[in-house]
Symmetry: C2
Subunit: 198 residues, 2 copies
DNA sequence: GAAGAAAGTGCCACTCAGTGGCATTTGCGT
DNA sequence: ACGCAAATGCCACTGAGTGGCACTTTCTTC
């Protein structure tokens, strides 16, 4: 089971519904009016949840806005954990990324596109996004059992940077099916990039 | 002249002094009590500057805390601009970094060490630091005249990531003269990192 | 060197994110 | 049905950052 079975408990189901409602409404509201221009209270009113409750679900305003991104990386770590993979590690990471991408359901894609656009013009979001990438990198190193290996650390940094570059190239169009191509192109350019001459 | 000559105007001199006082006192205060645990007002009281004035000098509390880091990157961009360099670009970047490092005066080193330590245990600072790296990267691409070249973008991402890894390795000791060695080691490990096998 | 322009500063009141405490409700098990 | 624990809501608070306006300091010009 990739996703945990829907929990029987009513209490749990309500929690999940609230979480989703917050994330989805956040994407919609922020997408319309912009992240910085939308006070958190507007989101709380829309979802009819008190300030205090919100902060029991999400750590910050940025946190809820980045839900789609965090979902992707979470799946990425799952994929990496379940199939160790062999051969060049950067191919392993690229493929894990592509697999994770393929696993996201149709509902996810527009939310992700919205999030990426938001991130592009809100430094606060960009900062939190970079911070989250750093956490994922640390988690990946731990997963591979060599958290202190310099070369491994560099490789992971490179791969995440490559991913971000791919997303950046994809950003202007945000065409639904084209992200994997951008990812493949970017990863294919790593070697040449590293050996660029002035 | 690498640094602009001391401005004749009294007005300008006072501004510079206030800026420095804020940066230095910030490093001292934050270094003692921690970044998150030190309210901005404590800094303002210490320097005897009003809240309003502070925000005319620095954009945020994080901004003033990261002064030492920003100084380094600023010198890095200067170095890069004045000597285009030839050969493998990653060597050019590494050497520009080392040159910038060598140009910093003795006063800078302890402030930088403090800043790095602060950054390591304050997510807010880490986020702003990563954000600043991203700005420097964009500026570097612009400087080289190819802001949209994917391979160049990747190379710059890789180099900055490598720098950050080097600083991270240096962090536990923070031994004054050892940073350049860590930088050289990290850059030397790029190739092997990219070709790691699972 | 005095007068006025311009830049810099301080104070006050405001918005908004995030937190702690405590009472209240709501779903859960017996 | 009852009691327990979890979840929620409400209130008041801190702390960062901003806008407006009055006041002081420096620069300029005559």
């Amino acid at each position: 089971m990739t996703h945990p079975a829907p929990p029987a408990s009513l209490r749990e189901r309500k929690k999940v519904r609230t979480r989703q409602a917050l994330a989805e409404t956040a994407a919609a509201l922020f997408g319309e009016r912009g992240f910085d221009a939308t006070p958190l209270d507007d989101l709380l009113d829309a979802v009819e949840v008190s300030r205090r409750t919100f902060f029991r679900y999400y750590r910050s305003k940025e946190d809820v806005a980045l839900t789609a991104v965090k979902e992707l990386w979470s799946v990425f770590l799952e994929v990496l954990a379940e199939e160790p993979g062999t051969g060049p590690l950067r191919d392993v990471f690229r493929d894990a990324l592509l697999t994770a991408l393929a696993r996201m359901d149709g509902d996810w894609h527009p939310r992700f596109a919205t999030t990426v656009r938001l991130t592009a013009d809100s430094p606060a979001l960009e900062g939190h996004s970079l911070l989250h990438c750093a956490e994922v990198q640390a988690e990946t190193r731990r997963l591979l059992g060599r958290p202190d290996d310099l070369e491994l650390r560099l490789l992971i940094e490179f791969c995440v940077a490559t991913w971000r570059s791919a997303v950046d190239d994809w950003l202007p169009t945000c065409a639904p099916g084209e992200l994997p191509d951008h990812v493949r192109r970017a990863f294919a350019a790593m070697e040449a990039g590293l050996h660029l001459e002035a």
